[in-house]
């Protein structure tokens, strides 16, 4: 294989219809799909010889950590920087993520994910940075749980593959629940647990999750999302009973 064929679904503006363009770029051993897309910038010419605009895409760390380059590659949502070209069909069909508004080409608007963090109380309100504070003990087990469940790169792949996240459903998407669960384990974070549980029990919360468990399979950071959702389910039940009684 001396060249890689890329078939890219393009869209010039948010409200315009999409069209396909095909590019051929030189192959090097071990290259990733992101490397291949970047090569288009060197000579933005389609396989039919037409000069065109370079493909718009998001990327930052190229390292699988920042989640920026999430896109649909050969029908599956994944990070372009962590997908080897060798593992893809020929031609490599590349589309933007499907459940987010397309800004242009492969760039999608994922701001809704970040806008959900604060309303879901997904933070631990802090005092002053330099406040004198005594170290709080957290058990090794809880820390390992937190390390397992925090570390979401906000790539949006779980939302893209979740059958419960649709335009008509209020479901926030799986990404937020591991963080909600992990922050509830933190000694200061526990104080915000009632608000987080209220969110988890709201229309945007876990009740719409159908436990398809796609999120766990596709998460680039390997976060066991369904486990977090099921644990929150039990906590939410206890929280609901408390709310009724007090």
């Amino acid at each position: 294989m001396s060249t890689v064929l890329l078939k890219i679904r393009r869209r010039d503006e948010h409200d315009e219809s999409s069209y396909w363009e095909q590019f051929s770029v030189p192959y090097t051993a071990g290259m990733t799909v992101l490397d291949a897309i970047r090569l288009i910038d060197f000579n933005p010419t389609t396989t039919t010889g037409d000069k065109t605009a370079p493909v718009a895409f998001d990327c930052s760390c190229s390292d699988g950590m920042c989640g920026a380059c999430a896109m649909t590659i050969c029908g599956r949502a994944r990070l372009a920087c962590s997908t080897p070209v060798d593992a893809c069909a020929d031609p490599i069909v590349i589309e933007p993520l499907k459940k987010f508004p397309v800004v242009r080409d492969l760039v999608v608007d994922r701001s809704a994910m970040f806008d959900t963090l604060a309303p879901a109380s997904c933070s631990i309100p802090c005092d002053e940075i330099e406040a004198k504070s005594y170290p709080r003990a957290i058990s090794k087990e809880d820390t390992m749980e937190m390390q397992r469940f925090l570390g979401c790169s906000m790539c949006g792949i779980c939302i893209d593959t979740c059958p419960s996240t649709t335009e008509r459903a209020a479901f926030t998407g799986p990404f937020i629940f591991p963080a909600i669960y992990a922050l509830n384990l933190h000694p200061t974070g526990k104080m915000g647990a009632p608000e987080r549980m209220d969110f988890a029990m709201s229309r945007r919360g876990i009740s719409d999750c159908n436990a398809a468990k796609n999120c766990e399979m596709v998460c680039p950071m390997g976060i066991p999302v369904p486990e977090a959702i099921s644990k929150i389910g039990w906590l939410a039940l206890k929280h609901g009973i408390k709310r009724m009684l007090w």
């Binding site: 010039d12 990733t32 370079p54 998001d58 930052s60 962590s82 940075i129 933190h186 390997g222």
Partner: protein
């Protein structure tokens, strides 16, 4: 008119920007945070080392400072690093309080790990994703503050720095920003501006971390009159793996978990002596990369390693409070010159980012709180806006044959060649000439993208123009430092020369060739 609270504009989505913003809000200032992407996409997420803080009972701020000074190879800023070491335990404790899951001891307290350059256990560590945890915790905190009090903290998302705005006295009174989605230009007035947009590692082709850390903001301030310092220094690691066209860092702590580096022409990481269960539990991302991308079993086949640039050390020249040579303009984190000296370990660089953000906001509060802050004249803001718009139109109309991506690639190769092996003066001079030739090639770029929405090419070309200026300044600084210090190694001057060069270098922008001071 006297405003109730000073307003500050913080530029960048780095750890230093996060700390600067939180501290500034805490001190009662109105903060505007200008970010191109959310913090989760920050260049800082790829750093997999922990953060250094003298938290254990046998350790002290003095011992920490002494380790930084010995790594700094003689040119450490003692006052600033001393303050940084004093702040370190507070930073670590703050991160712990906002939910960064640092490793714990059996008693449940933070269990720091020993880092390679210290005899003390000092590195607070939360696994391979330490930086990601830190960045995510800061982002959650910042979004909460902005949600609760939009006046205290406003997050301007999808905006990139275009230029700083100066008044007739040369004081910085704000900045212009380009909306990355529409290419519209917006001037933003502020009593102080902090540049926190990271370093310039991406000037080299063999860097780890984000492509966005190309130093374009540093170069913009340079062109507008800010002095730069110590550009010739950088810190590198030999624990990098090549994945496709990029390099990724392996966390240094793997060496404490039984991994060995095989030195030779083909450097590799040998895990055959390590406990597979421990390694698989602590380094899941590395294991995944080995299986899916490198296609090897790391316990049978050594992982091939590369040497990579991890951090740039130089940056915008600042005083002890983070103020640059332009009044009203401040710099922190990777954008500012590192106070640690000619070299620093990864965990100390991370600490520098956090501490410099805090220290800068405190310095601004001391200067601005309670003082008269008149609104800048609207004409100044409009003029700055028009200048940026004109430049965008000029670039959009470029119709030459050169591709910006190709020029950028060639520039990075020139820069990498300049550090790949110790170079003599004549080789560095020839690299300077090559960068000047690149500057000429930029004139004949052709812009293929005619659509304004999310147009990367125009913005990339703007950055490229600035990057070449920075690259030239870097090489001039390198040529002038006729000694070997830190990782700046000269073939013709292989020894450290304290009599002449035990000092920070300064360089100033000039159209006819940058001037060393």
């Amino acid at each position: 008119m006297k405003k109730a609270k000073p307003s500050i504009l913080i530029i960048g989505n780095s750890i230093s920007a996060g700390f600067a913003a939180i501290k500034a809000v805490e001190l009662g200032m109105n903060v505007r945070l200008l970010i191109e992407h959310p913090f989760a996409r920050s260049h800082d997420v790829s750093i997999s080392c922990g953060i250094d803080a003298n938290t254990s009972s046998d350790d002290s701020s003095e011992a920490h400072l002494s380790d930084i000074i010995s790594a700094g190879d003689g040119i450490t800023s003692r006052k600033r690093t001393g303050a940084m070491c004093d702040l370190a335990p507070n930073i670590c404790s703050f991160l712990d309080r906002i939910g960064v899951p640092f490793d714990r001891s059996n008693e449940g307290f933070i269990a720091p790990r020993r880092s390679s350059n210290s005899k003390y256990a000092r590195t607070a560590y939360a696994g391979e994703l330490t930086s990601l945890h830190i960045v995510a915790a800061l982002e959650r905190e910042l979004r909460r503050i902005a949600y609760e009090d939009g006046l205290a903290l406003g997050i301007l998302e999808g905006m990139e720095l275009a230029s700083i705005i100066k008044d007739s006295n040369g004081r910085c009174i704000g900045a212009t920003a380009i909306n990355c989605l529409t290419l519209e230009v917006e001037p933003i007035a502020a009593d102080a501006v902090i540049i926190c947009s990271g370093g310039y590692e991406a000037l080299y082709s063999n860097h780890i971390g984000s492509q966005k850390q190309d130093g374009a903001s540093i170069a913009q301030c340079f062109i507008q009159g800010a002095k730069l310092s110590n550009l010739e220094f950088y810190s590198s690691i030999n624990l990098a793996i090549k994945i496709g066209g990029s390099l990724s860092e392996i966390c240094e702590s793997i060496l404490l978990d039984g991994a060995k580096i095989q030195i030779g022409s083909n450097m590799a990481l040998d895990l055959s002596q390590a406990n597979p269960l421990l390694i698989e539990r602590r380094y899941p991302i590395l294991m995944k990369r080995c299986a899916e991308l490198l296609k090897l079993d790391p316990f049978k086949t050594p992982i091939p390693l590369k040497v990579a640039v991890r951090n740039s050390i130089g940056g915008i020249s600042i005083d002890d409070g983070g103020k640059t040579s332009i009044d009203g303009l401040f710099a922190a984190g990777g954008s500012a010159v590192s106070p640690c000296g000619a070299n620093a370990s990864g965990p100390n660089m991370l600490l520098t980012s956090a501490a410099s953000g805090i220290m800068t906001s405190k310095a601004i509060a001391d200067l601005c709180l309670g003082s008269e802050n008149p609104d800048p004249p609207a004409s100044l803001l409009d003029d700055a806006k028009v200048r940026v718009e004109d430049e965008i139109e000029h670039i959009a109309a470029m119709s030459g044959k050169e591709r910006p991506a190709q020029i950028d690639f060639d520039l990075k190769e020139i820069m990498f060649d300049a550090i790949k092996q110790p170079q003599a003066g004549n080789m560095i001079q020839s690299a300077i000439n090559s960068v000047r030739a690149i500057k000429e090639r930029i004139e004949s770029i052709g812009i293929a993208d005619t659509i304004r929405t999310a147009n990367r090419e125009i913005s990339f070309t703007r950055r490229l123009v600035r990057k070449t200026e920075l690259a030239e300044a870097l090489l001039i600084s390198k040529l002038a430092r006729e000694e070997s210090r830190g990782e700046h190694i000269r073939a013709d001057f292989p020894k450290r020369d304290d009599a002449h060069f035990m000092r920070t270098s300064f360089i100033e922008y000039s159209k006819d060739g940058h001037k060393l001071l």
